[in-house]
């Protein structure tokens, strides 16, 4: 029971934050709402007993990506004023399509017979993840590292001051 | 040894083509290089064909085996393969083609002055076409070479003909006429493929064509026949020949008369006879009738000619009539199962037809060369202009006498045997037509002696009647000069052949006889 309540609280909180991100007029607020979402998801991870991921989520999303987004907002915002019309012309259409999409998927998911989980999570999860990285998934791991390097260099080159 | 045997035919066929390519690569102005090269190059197929003849005679002649076969897939999807072979019928004709090509090249080396390179190129290509037809045993291959032969001839007639004789008209007429014919042939070939599933002549013959659909068989028989008749040329389809001959240059008309006409006859003997024996038996008499008409009609028309070359052209129409008569006789004989001597006479007729093919080749070849000789000097072929040349140009007179008399079938010279065998066969099978044909012999004698020899050689020679004589090399001369060395060298082999084959035709006859006996027996006689 406690778990369900906790889940509902966290889920509700996250969805609200998400709605905020989407709806917020002021871009900065949207960014903050986004951070809220990240927290909510980290909490969910903890609920799902994936502490490592939660911590990683916080470090990566909030520490790096959110900061990056805020930087971007500040660098590109120029004028401080309110945004004229945050949405483009097609948002009605998109909204309708999204609701339809969500309805369909959830209807499907409800119908889908998922086995209820029973086994408990392994306690040495982190060791297994570690060994997974250098064992079974060593190639994607290396590729990911190269990807990051390339992205890094790319970003620097793109955003570099051209004097 | 058998590698040489299997590749010799392909060599013979394609060597001239290679030669023409090499000539094409040579610079235009090096004319005598081109001439020397192409002459010596054409000697190779000649040597090969002679070796072929000797080799064939020594070990393949018994039972007329189809030797030197080479067969490999050409268009596998529809089962067309490059299948060549030679038997008693085609070996002598190959030799004839090679001989006339070499002599033609040798002769025209000194006579052709306009566009030398194209001439030799086309001539060699023509040789390939002719060789190809005689060796191919696959219908499509036969058709391809048949067409290849046409194109160079078209140009030879069109370009080197003298403007007075409307060469373009003649060339186009020749080309379209033969082409139209060959279209029918192509249809028939496809018909053969549909009915027997193969384009190979031997296999198709073994299987029998359109056994189940007589109307189709009849149609394809006539389709084939029309294509070959146009080429032979037999009576109703012959009008292109005189124009083509008068317009063609000397060497061109030698080859045209000497070999190209034989393609039609050879086609009938090789393709038609083996594929449609039933229809042949049924319509043989029409072929014989056309032959006889050809003989008589050709003889009479040539009697009325005043132009020397046109006369000889019509004479070859008449001589080819003998072939058609012979073939027709063979056809009718196929039907005469019960008559005792029929098979014997059929063999004789077949012999006669094939002999006539060879003999007419060398005789008419020689005649056209002779026409060329006089034409190079007088630049006119109107017989009324000449007279009394016998005293002035004795060597030319002697050669023309030999050729003339051989042509009218004087025994002791080559022409006689062909006529004798043809009539021996024809009398045995279609006596009534043969009797009409015999009239042709008398008329032939008439027009040769009266029109050619009398108007050219006999009588009083007075230089005033024709003024612009030149020597063969073009310098002005006041009267006709006798034959130059190169003309002698061109003509005398033919004359020697005429005399030798006249006295003792066995070397040639052995081939044809073996071919005729075996082909006829293989037609489940």
């Amino acid at each position: 029971m406690v778990g369900q309540i906790l889940f509902i609280i966290i889920a509700a909180f996250t969805l609200l934050m998400g709605l905020g991100t989407v709806v917020a007029r002021n871009l900065f607020h949207a960014a903050l709402f986004l951070v809220g979402v990240f927290f909510g998801i980290a909490a969910l991870f903890i609920l799902l007993e994936a502490e490592f991921l939660a911590m990683a989520q916080i470090i990566i999303y909030i520490g790096a990506i959110a900061t990056l987004i805020v930087f971007a907002i500040m660098l590109s915002k120029g004028m401080m004023g309110r945004e004229a019309g945050a949405y483009n012309k097609q948002w009605y259409f998109a909204g309708g399509a999204m609701i339809l999409f969500f309805g369909l998927l959830s209807w499907l998911l409800v119908k889908m017979p998922f086995a209820a989980a029973n086994a408990s999570a392994p306690d040495d999860a982190i060791q297994q993840i570690g060994s997974g990285f250098v064992g079974h998934y060593v190639v994607p791991f290396e590729v990911a590292s190269v990807l990051l390097l390339v992205a890094l260099v790319g970003a620097i080159m793109l955003a570099r001051e051209r004097n | 040894m058998d590698l040489l045997r299997s590749s010799v035919l392909t060599l013979i066929v394609f060597l001239p083509a290679v030669g023409s390519v090499i000539v094409a690569l040579m610079p235009k102005e090096k004319e005598d290089l081109i001439k020397k090269f192409s002459i010596w190059w054409s000697v190779i197929p000649l040597l090969l064909t002679t070796w072929l003849a000797i080799d064939y005679a020594t070990n393949f002649l018994r039972g007329n085996q189809m030797a030197y076969q080479a067969k490999f897939a050409w268009i596998p999807s529809i089962g067309v393969n490059y299948h060549v072979g030679a038997d008693g019928l085609s070996v002598p004709l190959l030799f004839l083609t090679a001989l006339l090509t070499t002599l033609g090249l040798y002769y025209s080396a000194r006579v052709i002055r306009k566009r030398v390179k194209e001439f030799f190129l086309l001539f060699l290509l023509l040789a390939t076409g002719m060789f190809g037809v005689f060796v191919s045993l696959d219908l499509i291959l036969f058709y391809v070479f048949w067409e290849i032969g046409l194109v160079p001839m078209y140009f030879l007639i069109g370009i080197w003909g003298n403007p007075k004789d409307r060469p373009q008209y003649a060339a186009i007429k020749f080309f379209l006429y033969t082409l139209a014919g060959s279209i029918f042939m192509l249809l028939a070939m496809i018909g053969v493929y549909l009915s027997t599933g193969t384009f190979d002549i031997l296999d198709a013959a073994a299987k029998g064509v359109w056994l189940n659909a007589p109307t189709f068989a009849m149609l394809s028989f006539w389709a084939f026949f029309i294509a070959f008749a146009i080429k032979v040329p037999s009576f109703p389809f012959h009008t292109w020949l005189p124009d083509a001959h008068t317009a063609a240059p000397t060497a061109g008309s030698v080859i045209l008369a000497g070999v190209l006409l034989k393609l039609g006859a050879y086609g009938i003997l090789r393709v038609l006879l083996s594929l449609f024996p039933g229809q042949f038996a049924q319509f043989g008499w029409i072929v014989a009738l056309l032959g006889v008409i050809g003989i008589v009609y050709g003889a009479f028309v040539s009697l009325a000619q005043t132009d020397l070359k046109r006369l000889i052209a019509y004479s070859s129409v008449s001589h080819m009539g003998y072939i058609m008569l012979g073939i027709g006789a063979v056809g009718v004989a196929l039907g005469m199962k019960n008559v005792a001597g029929a098979q014997e006479s059929a063999a004789m007729a077949f012999n006669g037809a094939s002999l006539q093919m060879f003999m007419h080749g060398i005789i008419t070849g020689a005649l056209f060369f002779l026409v060329g000789v006089i034409y190079e000097r007088a630049h006119t072929r109107d017989l009324k202009v000449f007279g009394g040349l016998s005293a002035v140009v004795p060597v030319y007179y002697a050669t023309m006498m030999f050729a003339g008399f051989a042509s009218l079938g004087l025994p002791g010279l080559a022409g006689f045997w062909a006529e004798f065998f043809t009539f021996r066969g024809a009398f045995g099978i279609v006596p009534v037509l043969a009797v009409i044909g015999v009239i042709g012999i008398v008329i032939t004698a008439a027009y040769i002696l009266y029109r050619i020899i009398q108007s050219l050689f006999l009588g009083e020679f007075d230089p005033k009647r024709w003024d612009h004589w030149t020597t063969v090399f073009g310098e002005h001369a006041d009267g006709p000069t006798d034959m130059a060395l190169f003309e002698k060298v061109t003509l005398w082999p033919l004359v020697i052949l005429m005399v030798l084959l006249g006295l003792w035709p066995t070397p040639l006859l052995a081939f044809f006889n073996e071919a005729s006996v075996n082909i006829l027996s293989s037609l489940h006689f």
């Binding site: 778990g3 369900q4 889920a11 996250t14 969805l15 998400g18 709605l19 991100t21 989407v22 949207a30 986004l34 979402v37 990240f38 969910l44 799902l48 994936a50 490592f52 991921l53 990683a56 989520q57 999303y61 990506i65 990056l68 987004i69 971007a72 907002i73 660098l75 590109s76 945050a86 949405y87 483009n88 097609q90 998109a94 909204g95 999204m98 609701i99 999409f101 969500f102 998927l105 959830s106 998911l109 409800v110 889908m112 998922f114 086995a115 209820a116 989980a117 086994a119 999860a125 297994q128 993840i129 990285f133 998934y137 990911a144 990807l147 992205a151 790319g154 970003a155 793109l158 955003a159 | -």
Partner: protein, 103 residues
């Protein structure tokens, strides 16, 4: 009674739809990027949920999430860098105004 898997999935779908809606309708490029981040997170939730409910012993679910993190980070970095350089040249980062290739 623990939380059934479908709840997580439905939650993730909802979050995904929100993100997608942001991508589709927001004019500002950054907002679009945020929408993308939302979508990626929704996917992460799904992954972890599947790991936790279906194959707890096999850690590949979590490993995949880590890879999604790296991709998200790289994507954010490059996206924002692009956006900054576009902003510098076009003085606007409204997605619907950037709709032709040359200036």
């Amino acid at each position: 009674m623990t939380v059934p898997l479908s709840w997580y999935l439905i939650f993730a779908t909802a979050l995904f739809s929100l993100g997608f809606f942001a991508v589709l309708s927001r004019r500002n490029a950054v907002a679009v990027l945020m929408g993308v981040e939302l979508m990626l997170n929704a996917v992460n939730v799904n992954l972890v949920a599947f790991w936790r409910y279906l194959t707890p012993s096999d850690l590949s679910g979590q490993i995949f999430v880590v890879f999604v993190f790296t991709v998200a980070a790289a994507e954010a970095a490059v996206g924002l860098a692009l956006m900054i350089s576009i902003y510098r040249t076009r003085k606007t980062i409204n997605v619907d105004e950037i709709n032709d290739l040359n200036l």
